[in-house]
Amino acid sequence: MGHGAGGALTEEIVRIARAAFSSRYLDAALDSAVLPPTEGRVAFTTDSYVVRPLFFPGGDIGRIAVCGTVNDLAVVGARPRFVSCGLILEEGLSFDSLERVLASMAEAAREAGVEIVTGDTKVVEKGHGDGLYVNTAGIGSVPPGLDLSGSGIEGGDAIIVSGTLGDHAMTVMSLRESLGFESSLRSDAAPLNGLVAALLESGARVRFMRDLTRGGLAAGLHELADLLGASLEIDEDALPARSEVLALSDILGIDVLSMANEGKIVAVVASGDEERALEAMRGHRYGRDAAIVGRVVAAPSLCPRAGGAERAGPRPGADIGAARVRMRTSSGGVRIVARPSGEKLPRIC
């Protein structure tokens, strides 16, 4: 793909996009897509996608761009309807790559039941982009009365994760040349509106949902704790994760809790409804490994478990019991789950 070819190039890209997305709104070729009214409240979201490499086992930047926006809509309880597609192409990107990405976006949109109705492309000079950046925005409709803002959460409510953690992060990380190891991992990139619908239709009282992208479960739990002003406790043994991901995270010294996912959500479900919720999620293809990983803790102090030895008393230092998000470790100890910060690099020893 060259830069500066002007109208002809843009026309060619638009032709490819139209062919891939086959939307009557797109075909209308107006400056804006003019959409029918939606029932209920309108949910509106946008996100930009930057990933290296562009293609990886289990997906590509296009699939992530559609699924990410669909999932942002789904977790507020919206039925995703319409999605936009903004492309920033670096000079030198092959038409073949572009076509693959657009086909993948179309496929993800079909799976999610959304329509890509408007778009834009810009080409930047070589060296000014990582091949391709994608921005998507999405519109969905939220049924009247549905409230997933976290209000009504009580101590004892269950924290449920929809499946194995860290698959996407570890897949992409293992592909990056500097790490130089091969694996059979696949990204979990998936549209989760079907899973969310199944959960909501189960009748379980769902209080809150969030999709677990950058920062992983740790970031999701911190956002929830901040929102509620409550503390959360999870159980390391309950965390769903593939053994390969765990083994690699051990080697690299990267916590699976803070690894990015592209097809996982965390949900808070009222105490007593968790089994019903779990059953509904496990019945969906993207929720087979769903698990209850923890509880909302009402009081800030943690009850010591029964045990022979006298328990730790006050000592100098940070009080783990007062931390917002903490984890009962598989060894039986307790530790803080920190808010993820910055890029994680493998440690040296």
Binding site: S178, E236, D237, L239, A241, S243, L246, A247, S249, D250, I251, G253, D255, G307, G308, A309, E310, R311, A312, G313, P314, R315, P316, G317, A318, D319, I320, G321, A323, R326, M327, R328, T329, S330, S331, G332, G333, V334, R335, I336, A338, S341, G342, L345, P346, R347, I348, C349
Partner: protein
């Protein structure tokens, strides 16, 4: 939840060991045990082991982070070399963000220097071969474990130099440190006009670093037990390993013994790794060296032997490392944290202005740094 070392995360075994620890501890007064390894602190934090110990048993972190003890003067030298025209500086990711008066290596990168992250000396050597037009300088830090790899690279370069195949554009700054003599110096009463207190306040037992011991074996620690009377246990990094080490120390304390026990026998041989030790003594001489925030310790540094001087970046480019001006940011307690005289949480900067994304001192930068680990997993309680 992790499959890699399942046997050493066995809950039942751990529960029994913790029961024995509680029993031993019930016969003792307050016990202060020190480990000297960032990976040990990480395991203690990650598995929440402090919360499982009896209240009279405290685990304190000592100087166990090679990145943290690397003096600011060496970082300044590395900056200087990185900013030379046509230079490429390579180091471990942790080193790049370590704050130093005059700026970090990341700052140097922002000023236009080419600074690369590598995972070993081999990667740095590969950079030199791939970039024949650049002067590649490897900023080498590490204790014995990491040193062994760097020694292997130096040794092969020495052979290459004889055969005329060694790249002329590779050299290194040797900020490697050796552990046992440093511990001995820091735990000994200082010999001055009058006997002063040791730099590290008395400890009742030492949990010794498994990785380092894989290389050096058990022998170099003997003076700690025999001369200083400190019970020592070489331990691995899984919960069961650490519990075994702690139990062994409590038993030694209870019976008034002091010896070097090895509870990490699946990895540590009494003689260590003979080949690695031979490589290290082939290429390095020991020298006095500065430990950041701690001071100069005799015989704890490693410098390339004269035959390998052509690969010594400081000699090659005639860059000095002026001693002094190792001051930390005002209020930073990194030095006290490394000596076990303060907890990270005692530091007024900890968790406030000093965070992993904006570290005030070296202990908040490295994954081996006590403050960084405490920030991630919680602290002493």
């Amino acid at each position: 939840m992790a499959p890699a070392h399942e046997a050493f995360r066995d809950k039942e075994l751990l529960r029994r060991l913790l029961g024995s620890i509680a029993e031993e501890a019930s016969r003792l007064g307050p016990v202060r045990l020190m480990h000297v390894c960032g990976t040990h602190e990480r395991s203690v934090g990650r598995f929440g082991l402090r919360s499982l110990l009896p209240r009279n048993v405290r685990i304190v972190a000592g100087p166990g982070c090679p990145v943290c003890v690397c003096p600011a003067s060496d970082i300044r030298a590395a900056r200087k070399l990185a900013l030379r025209p046509n230079a490429m500086l390579a180091s471990f990711g942790d080193m790049l963000a370590v704050p130093a008066p005059g700026g970090s290596l990341l700052d140097a990168r922002a000023e236009g220097a080419e600074v690369r992250v590598v995972y070993s000396a081999y990667d740095a050597l590969a950079l030199a071969r791939e970039n024949p037009g650049k002067e590649v300088v490897f900023f080498s830090v590490g204790f014995e474990t990491t040193t062994a790899t760097t020694a292997a690279v130096l040794s092969s370069l020495g052979q290459g130099a004889k055969a005329g195949t060694a790249p002329h554009n590779f050299s290194l700054i040797s900020s490697n440190r050796v552990v046992p003599p440093a511990l001995e110096a820091l735990l000994s009463p200082r010999r001055g006009a009058t006997d002063e207190a040791p730099a590290i306040p008395a400890v009742d037992g030492l949990v010794l670093p498994g990785h380092v011991s894989v290389i050096i074996g058990t022998e170099p620690y003997r003076p700690l037990a025999e001369r200083l009377g400190i019970p020592c246990a070489i331990s691995g990094f899984e919960p069961v390993d650490l519990a075994r080490g702690i139990l062994d120390l409590l038993k030694q304390i209870g019976s008034g013994r002091a010896q070097v026990s090895n509870v990490y026998t699946r990895a540590v041989l009494p003689g260590g790794n003979e080949r690695a030790r031979a490589l290290i003594s082939e290429v390095y001489d020991t020298a006095d060296a500065t430990w950041r925030g701690i001071g100069r310790l005799a015989g704890t540094g490693l410098v390339p032997k004269p035959a390998y001087r052509s690969f010594d970046a400081l000699a090659k480019f005639e860059v000095g490392t002026e001693v002094g001006s190792d001051d930390e940011a005002t209020g930073c307690l990194c030095a006290a944290v490394m000596l076990g005289t303060a907890e990270s949480e005692d530091c007024p900067l900890f968790g406030g202005p000093c965070r992993p994304e904006s570290p005030a001192g070296p202990c908040m930068v490295s994954d081996e740094g006590t403050c960084r680990i405490r920030y991630e997993y919680g602290g002493a309680r």
